[in-house]
Symmetry: C2
């Protein structure tokens, strides 16, 4: 009998059916490597939650197999889960220089830096991980410097993970995405490609990052106002272009917002940002210059409540006061779900009388993700046998699969997977073979995973109609009510205007308890649920609202 | 001394700095007329609130002056506040036939129909209101039938309120907006125009509603699947076009969703919708036909949680089961804030395997509001001395004012007002002269105005981190704790996984009370706030969360 040939497993644990918390495991025999380890922002239906990370049950069970984590780039949805993962499983982390620089900063905040092995890789480097994997970093373009695709050689063939990318023929720093290398790999033979589906709904090509710089120069030239530009802190190239346009027009640059300060510091330190001598000034010193001598680069392009731009707009920033002599440029488009917050910030800035440039129409932003023509080009170059669309909501994955058919990848060779599904491949075949645990772990304050569905359901219920607490003290001996029920409400109604309603609740609760106490075989849980039901019924009849009712019975 | 000439006051009470709850009062001497009386949907920061209406303190104080309410059209943001207003102040309501039809339906639901005087007006009708006002209904085009601009003659000049409008040269039913009459009024002389700012950010012209119908016919023709179209119920013309395209292709039409059923019924009854004999079928009968013989028209184009389309997408609709043999068309664009819900619904439909046409790119939707060229045209035709941009967030109003300058309305003659500001005009001048009360009144269940800032703040707090209740019973006589503190939490943490935390809270609460009870001059409120502070501190140290802490002290 011949030993059954081993198969390669590709297991996406995060990043499918969502844009966020990317994490893919590749497993062969006794070895696993991971691509990325991201976080996601909470949805609207997760009130109070700070962050969402992946369920890593499967990796914890197989911890001894893991040879390393390979990072495609330094965005939070690709590295944000690392501190939580590394606390559980300490494995080496590989990435390009800026990516590792950002990871270092993150691990320092979590007091993990000294215990983790971080390895800097250059484009073209091939890193062996265990006996079965070797990983080559291939240059790509994206809205952060030093992004990479990973060409992963395995015993059954080469798998390419594209990371997040676009094709920028005129990038700001460094070279264009290494299409030649991708083409070479294609000629050698590629088993499977995993590719970025974010912009699959958009026809054509993404514009070059450089086009934004040209627009900045146009706007800055001859502008007599102070200029404030909000953008993503991690878009090092965007920030560089703002600095360049400022310097060219004899303006100083100040930076506002914690993440912006961090990234600018790290980028300058690592040589990813070049600031002409004397251009960067401390935000405390902006008043020493005339308005037309200053550019402020700030966080808050998504209208985040606590961000620097939002605080400026609502006159709540300690160091920058926006006036009608300011020009504000929002160099970003709202991420789905943030439209209203951004719109609120723009309205506030208009109220102050400031000039605001905020439409993508004004060409002050381009996307960092490939559009349809670029996506097709990558598939045409790499000619994979199998295709797995990743980094997208379900519709993006389906549309990417349909797009792949146009460049000749048969429908049966494309796999729209869900997180946790296992795709098993050998050099000729691929099939879905079972699932492993996958899901959302919620981070709230210091708690990881202690907020789940019941807690969220209660939070939502409380937010909708508030709560009513009914406290009753009952004598242990006589089984009689010792004092009249007490009623406390929060988030329900102005109590002063609802005295008769509260009196009504007391009355109904008291009656319900007296009824119960009179019965034989009375127990506490029946008493509580009966009181709860009567009060809920009464409140709904009176108000058509359904607050949470909490009966508290003290026995003395 | 000459008696001071009376002035006209224009007082917007709702609809400025917001899209929603439109209401404008015009006052001259002892007479007031109102234009529209709308509602708004609650913002994200109003959890549990059903609806927002206007503060009408000013109108209540001046109730005896009010001569009538004139409605521009039947959308909720123009008529939704009527039941609440009419309960407080019963005045006659004037509108075109469909508008009044919709108002009738609304008042019936609130048991108000018999007590209110409703007057149907035709285009061209001039209605006298009191001694000082006469109102003419002028035909416009909009995404609901029977929309009107109001030409209001006053002793100081003519004021035109445009309502919501677009210019549609090829409307589905009826004629194009009466540009000739608007031009005539312009020649006679117009004192002031109030105009719709919704689409002021969009260059060019809004497409004709008819273009959507052509697209429907294209899609329906030869389609072998069952077709489900989601759109706004109130868009009578859109629904008509779907019915027409269905009939042309030999399909039956069924209707799903309460508001869709209502509007179709009212529209057919009033003759605003023409359905060929035998085309309309009951939703219960759709299974009697092959998929390619059926079109279902449904609500839910905004991804509303309880709407028919959302229930279909999540396999929760009692009568329609979506399969991969369905084509779903979402004939609408998401209203800002609804992007994520719509996106979720689309993803669910993709998961079922259905085909979904959902981009505005696919030309299955056009806007009902005028774009820049149309807005300029109206101002150029009516040539008002003064201009008041309405129906928009602050930035829309400012941009509309800037647009007006391009057609020759000097900046000083345009007024960007806030709700409650009073604009005082005579035949030559206009100036802002004070303010009257204006604001948001929240409707929650049966309660109108009993949910305010404190209640909302509590609801938001509860939704973020939940609550912890600490119950302590203290002896009245001995001033000692009778039983160990009890701790109840909701929306905070899984209690089973946090036993030691809850024990810690009991301990901290007990210590804090013992400390207090030991002191002289102890009072209940000090006791409570001290216990609250110790527990909050302990919880924050342990979890970095700040749940609401409710201390309950029972004295026996």
């Amino acid at each position: 009998m011949v030993a059954k040939a081993k198969k390669l497993k590709i297991i996406p644990l995060g990043g499918l059916d969502e844009i966020g918390k990317n994490l893919t495991a590749l497993e062969y025999g006794n070895e696993i490597i991971m691509v990325d380890c991201g976080m996601a922002f909470p949805d609207d239906d997760m009130p109070g939650v700070d962050m969402v990370i992946n369920d890593i049950t499967y990796l914890e069970k197989n911890w001894s197999k893991i040879k390393g984590i390979f990072l495609t780039h330094g965005h939070e949805d690709h590295i944000g889960g690392l501190p939580y993962f590394l606390k559980a499983i300490n494995v080496p982390v590989y990435g390009t220089r800026l990516t590792i620089g950002l990871v270092e900063h993150k691990l320092k905040e979590h007091n993990l830096l000294s215990s983790v092995k971080l390895v800097r890789a250059k484009y073209g480097n091939v890193i062996n991980a265990g006996q079965n994997f070797s990983v080559e970093f291939v240059r790509t373009n994206h809205s952060i410097a030093d992004s990479a695709a990973l060409a992963i050689k395995t015993p059954v063939g080469t798998v390419i993970h594209m990371g997040d990318f676009k094709i920028d023929t005129t990038p700001i720093v460094g070279d264009m995405i290494d299409l030649a290398r991708l083409g070479e790999l294609g000629k050698e033979g590629v088993l499977a490609v995993l590719s970025d589906s974010t912009n699959v709904e958009r026809p054509g090509y993404a514009m070059s990052e450089r086009s934004v710089g040209e627009k900045f120069e146009q706007i800055f030239k001859g502008c007599n106002k102070r200029i404030i530009v909000a953008t993503f802190a991690s878009n090092v190239h965007r920030v560089q272009q703002i600095i360049d346009a400022a310097a060219k027009n004899g303006r100083k640059v100040a930076v506002s917002g914690r993440s912006m300060e961090n990234i600018v510091e790290i980028s300058i330190l690592l040589g990813y940002m070049k600031v002409p001598e004397g251009v960067l000034i401390n935000i405390d010193n902006i008043k020493k210059y005339r308005p037309n001598q200053v550019v402020i680069i700030t966080t808050g392009s998504q209208g985040e409540p606590m961000s620097a731009l939002t605080r400026m707009a609502f006159s709540d920033h300690r160091k920058v006061e926006v006036t009608k002599d300011d020009l504000i440029i929002i160099s970003a488009t709202p991420i789905p779900g943030n439209e209203k917050s951004v719109s609120n910030v723009v309205n506030e800035l208009f109220k102050i009388g400031a000039e605001v440039i905020y439409k993508s129409l004004a060409e002050v932003h381009v996307s960092g993700h490939a559009c349809q023509e670029e996506l097709k080009l990558i598939l045409a170059l790499t000619k994979p046998k199998f295709f797995i669309p990743v980094h997208g909501e379900h519709r993006h994955l389906v549309l990417h699969k349909e797009l792949a058919q146009k460049v000749g990848i048969p429908e049966k060779n494309s796999f729209v997977l869900s997180n946790g599904q296992v795709l098993e491949l050998d050099s000729k075949t691929a099939k879905i073979a079972g699932t492993v645990p996958a899901g959302k772990i919620l981070v709230d304050g210091l708690g990881v995973g202690d907020v789940g569905n019941i807690v969220l359901r209660d939070r939502k219920h409380l937010s909708q109609d508030g709560l009513i607490i009914v406290v009753v003290t009952i004598s242990h001996d006589s089984k009689e009510i010792v004092s009249k029920p007490d009623v406390i409400s929060r988030g329900f109604v102005y109590v002063r205007e609802a005295e008769s309603l509260i009196e009504g609740v007391k009355h109904v609760a008291g009656e319900s308890i007296s009824d119960c106490l009179g019965k034989r075989n009375m127990d506490w849980s029946t008493l509580k649920s009966s009181m709860k039901a009567s009060v809920a019924k009464y409140i709904y009849e009176q108000t058509k609202r359904s607050p949470m009712i909490l009966p508290i019975i003290e026995e003395i």
